[in-house]
Amino acid sequence: MQVREVLSSLTFRFIVKYVTVLSATVFLLLGAFYIYFSYTSFEDLGESVLEELETLQLVYRGQSLAGVEQYIEDQRALPTVHRFYYLVTNDSGVKVAGDLPVAPRYREFDDGWLGFEMALQNWGESIDVDFLARPMELGDGYQAIVARDYAGIVGRAELVFRTLFRVMIATILLGITSGFFSAAATLNRVERLNMEISRIIRSDPGQRLRVEDEKGYVRTLALVMNQMLEQMESLMQGVRRVSDNIAHDLRTPLTRMRNQLSQLRAGLEHAESGQVDRIIEECDELLASFNALLRISTLESGSRLAGGTDVELRAVLGDVVELYEPLAHERGVTLELDAPQPGVCKGEIDLLFQMFANVLDNAIKYTPEQGAIRVQLRPGLAGDGHSVVIADSGPGIPDAERKNVFRRFYRVESSRSEHPGHGLGLSLVQAIAKYHYGSVELGNNNPGLQVRIKLP
């Protein structure tokens, strides 16, 4: 099984779609979570700043500016990096306490919130950190600003985001890989079914698929296929029965008629018997076309070649040519076999012989004196199979008629009067070729007709 087949299989495509939709959903959900997480974190941060301002105000009310200074000193002594920063200014905007510079470049946010950036010393390194700040009147013209950095929140949010991204990549990769393998497994089962069903159709329509080995939908599929095989077999048997009945019902009385005619002829004078002979001949022709028709129906309606034996085509063609050579010679037509190498094909030798004989028979019939017929055996173009070309130098068949001549009882208008025949020869050729999984084509031999038979 090829990778391309797996990739283009329905199961795989389904799984890829599924994984895409799933990861998009997961991404959206986690994104919502991320936004919610960031939002609540900022809210908490803001609340803590407000609380700190209230505390500061309480301290101011209780212990006035000195208490505030003391409080701020205490806070600065705490060993945490992410702590509050303060700035207290008097009514003329001069810093009286705190550890923030007097006038950092504030950005104004909604609801009186401010934001700014400031460098912090962290493990000896100076890092620019974003702060959230809020001013508040302490009283007596003093104004306090409490600020807190939100690097921690950004860091956590980034961590969450990276985690989400990695989870998504992992989901997609794992999903697609497992999709590939499960698609391959399904394809394997489908391919096994496929091979089994074509083997059954080719060889023995009486066989059934093994349902026990399959599970789920494949099992249902196998069951349905088995039902189809069942119906196909009964239809085939039905057609066979019908043609058997036709054979029994029509050919038998025909035989009787013919034989009664020959009885009648035996009792006649020589002068009259000629007429009866002609009727008997017509009767024989009728029986012959009936036989041919029945053979075509049998070949077309029944199952195709099952097994067959190895037939060496060069030998068969040699025999056909040898059989027809005297007839061709008598008509002044040269007959040539061109088969440089043998070709072995599975088939029924009598049918193949019949097929080549019919084509050659036609060729000899339609080729004028001094004409030439060439029988060619070559390996098939694609490297497998065989191609048999029988080309004559007769009048050929006009393009428009080429499809029709395979129809039963069809005869090219111009040949109707000149050449006897029942118009079934090429139909039988086609039926035999198809029975052997082959095909027949007509081509122009410039001048003449080329009959190209392809056999597997």
């Binding site: 054979a247 050919r251 038998t252 034989n259 036989n291 053979r295 007839l327 004989a357």
Partner: protein, 230 residues
């Protein structure tokens, strides 16, 4: 010949019996497989003609049963099926020859004659020469001569003549020649065999007074001294 016919279609059966009797044979007619089996076991026939599809016991089963019981009377199977498969199955089940309906009475008679002749001959044919009147064939040297004149034949002509000489005096049909000389069972659209036979006739008859190879109208050919055409 004593012939047993097992055929369920009454009109066909009666007709065949009539024709065989008219040709001077003794003919018994049974209409189903069981009765045919009983008749075959109880009597001694020279040759049997059995239809492929019979009520109560299928024709092929009937033949198989007779063969497993050691009955080796030659059997010709009649069938309405023109399928190759059926012919192979027929011959596998122990039948000696196979004829597809519709057939001409001449074809049936010729084939029965050949089957009967073959059965009464020793199983191993040890002849090294064949002779029909003044025509000789040396099977070892593969040489043919008539009177004292050697006749040179193509390999296929030789096989054709050999088959005709082995069945000298019997009517040999075109289908039989195709089957045994060319080894193929098929329906030629034209009388391609006639050309081969007339070539052979040129070689063995043209320079001699008495023609040996005769065409039997509506049936086939017969090799042997000229006789009234029947």
């Amino acid at each position: 010949m004593k012939i047993l016919l097992v055929e369920d279609d009454e009109s066909v059966g009666d007709f065949i019996v009539g024709e065989l009797t008219a040709a001077g044979h003794q003919c018994a007619h049974e209409k189903d497989g069981e009765a045919g089996y009983k008749a075959a076991v109880d009597n001694d026939y020279d040759v049997m003609v059995i239809d492929r599809m019979l009520p109560r016991m299928d024709g092929l089963t009937l033949i198989q049963r007779l063969r497993t019981e050691g009955n080796h009377t030659p059997v010709l199977v009649l069938s309405a099926l023109g399928d190759v498969d059926d012919r192979v199955r027929g011959l596998h089940s122990g039948a000696d020859d196979y004829l597809v309906k519709p057939f001409s009475m001449a074809e049936l008679l010729a084939r029965l004659e050949v089957l009967h002749r073959r059965a009464s001959m020793p199983v191993v044919d040890v002849r090294t020469t064949l002779q029909v009147e003044d025509l000789f064939m040396d099977l070892l040297k593969q040489q043919v001569q008539r009177q004292d004149t050697p006749i040179s034949l193509q390999p296929r002509e030789y096989k054709l003549l050999e088959y005709l000489m082995r069945h000298a005096g019997q009517v040999v049909t075109r289908a039989m020649l195709l089957e045994h000389v060319w080894g193929y069972h098929f329906d030629p659209q034209t009388n391609v065999i006639d050309v081969h036979v007339s070539r052979l006739r040129q070689k063995i008859d043209r320079d001699f007074d008495q023609p040996l190879l005769a065409t039997v109208r509506g049936a086939g050919y017969r090799l042997g001294p000229a006789q009234a055409v029947g």
